[in-house]
Symmetry: C2
Subunit: 319 residues, 2 copies
Amino acid sequence: MALFKDIHSDLKTVEKEINRYIGAEEPVLTKASGHLLRAGGKRIRPAFALLAGKFYHYDLEKLIPLAVALEVIHMASLVHDDVVDASVTRRGRPTVKSKWGNRISLHTGDFLLGRSLVLISQYEDQRISRVLSRVSVEMCQGEIQQISASFDADQRFRDYLYRIKRKTALLISASCELGAVATGAPEGLTRALTRYGYHLGMAFQITDDILDLVSNEKVLGKPVGGDLRQGIITLPVIYALEHTREKERLRELVTRQDKSAEEVKETIRLIKESGAIDYAFEISQKYLEKAKKELEKLPDVKTKKTFARIAKYIGERQY
Amino acid sequence: MALFKDIHSDLKTVEKEINRYIGAEEPVLTKASGHLLRAGGKRIRPAFALLAGKFYHYDLEKLIPLAVALEVIHMASLVHDDVVDASVTRRGRPTVKSKWGNRISLHTGDFLLGRSLVLISQYEDQRISRVLSRVSVEMCQGEIQQISASFDADQRFRDYLYRIKRKTALLISASCELGAVATGAPEGLTRALTRYGYHLGMAFQITDDILDLVSNEKVLGKPVGGDLRQGIITLPVIYALEHTREKERLRELVTRQDKSAEEVKETIRLIKESGAIDYAFEISQKYLEKAKKELEKLPDVKTKKTFARIAKYIGERQY
């Protein structure tokens, strides 16, 4: 990603370390973890940690265990999502679950989570373990709420915010926070980076949720409307349920468990016609504004421009 | 348990803390965790931590977070075992999985593991986080190896030891070790307690594996021969496969995936006739001897006798 060019070679080092670190005594575990790793991904969490580290005494050695742990925690949550999801592909490749089955996927996720916590337990500053274990707990709560609230047309804006905070924003926020902590940054600086990451993460997830409705299968690497099929009620859906002229029909479609391809199409059409996409886009812009406001508190290092560009990029992702 | 009478009231405090600590914002999570907690269990891991703490400057306040974390990590592993197991009951009650389904069970396990790591990240001594995150990784590797080796009649004694070390002995060993660490015990004392816990844990699991073959449903809270049905090849089976006079028949039975009740009975009969139970009992006794040897290195506090009695009790569990 061009946005990460300042840390390009350091990210490569992180990638190698991830690869080395997920090896296990059990060959099937190494294979399952490696399969997931090779499926790619943007490595945005390690990137944010390294970039945050640039605001103080940047030291790659000190940042590597954290950067690796962040990506591995993220991977662990993906494997566990796949265990419970129906989807057989992720990022265009077969999921760990579809290749190795539920039992292996479950333990692979546990293994990866455990490995990441071993890594960060090597830091002297307990704050890193503390923040990441807390985030992992919140991530579970987000997943559970998502399950409880699936196909529920009565949820509100704040239920959605609760969920995406836990599913996405907290780990991105922690990436920024701990990148600062690992380099010994002072409290004020760390706080601004934490908040930048949080607001950016919220905008990132809202954008993702919009793309799931308006993008295409080729770009997404999975069919459009995946959230609708799984019953995940995202921001545009919540808005549309209130503002569409066909309230009853949309409600019926949203709460239907086995939607046909035609019904998914119709649902997306009703959502778009309600103005929900523009609305969600505005909310995402508000979060990006808040993220940029935090940047004003940061010292004028080169990375500050990179962080501003990242915020801009998220606001301009193609719909 | 009469063996734990010295710490009876402290264990009650721990029990209350566990109950308080597994509460979550998501009601279903609190219910699922609470269900598991109320299913009971011997709480041997917290008990070992408290008892180990008695050898130095015993301080319940300092031991509580550790004791809670140990039981909660154990609970997390049970929930995840139930996700992948076919059994619908545990300790005579419906499993979390059979009541709430796979998805909730999966995230409940993740939640519990995360919560326990949050708890221990509060200790200043990083060793506690380090040891427990490592143990949780090894527990996964044990589970994975169990899956890979299921219904495999060609495994050896050392495969079995690798597995039970990870499934059981390491967490019991860590309970003793960290009970000492949490009270600031010196290295020599801590090491002896760690080894005591390890050898005792090995004996404990071997005994469990024997009981699965020779006990009865009422005592076990589950049908006899559960391991055989699941394809888990335990020490008596490994011995019997080599020493029975009906090698081919036993091999055929052990590797058969869907054994009838009659076939399970026949398998158990062949195992018993081979002398495998006595052999496994002897191995367990050897571990108990090693555990007792470690006790000799400990100071003469009252708990030393308790530890000796625990070792004796495990050696005498009813067959």
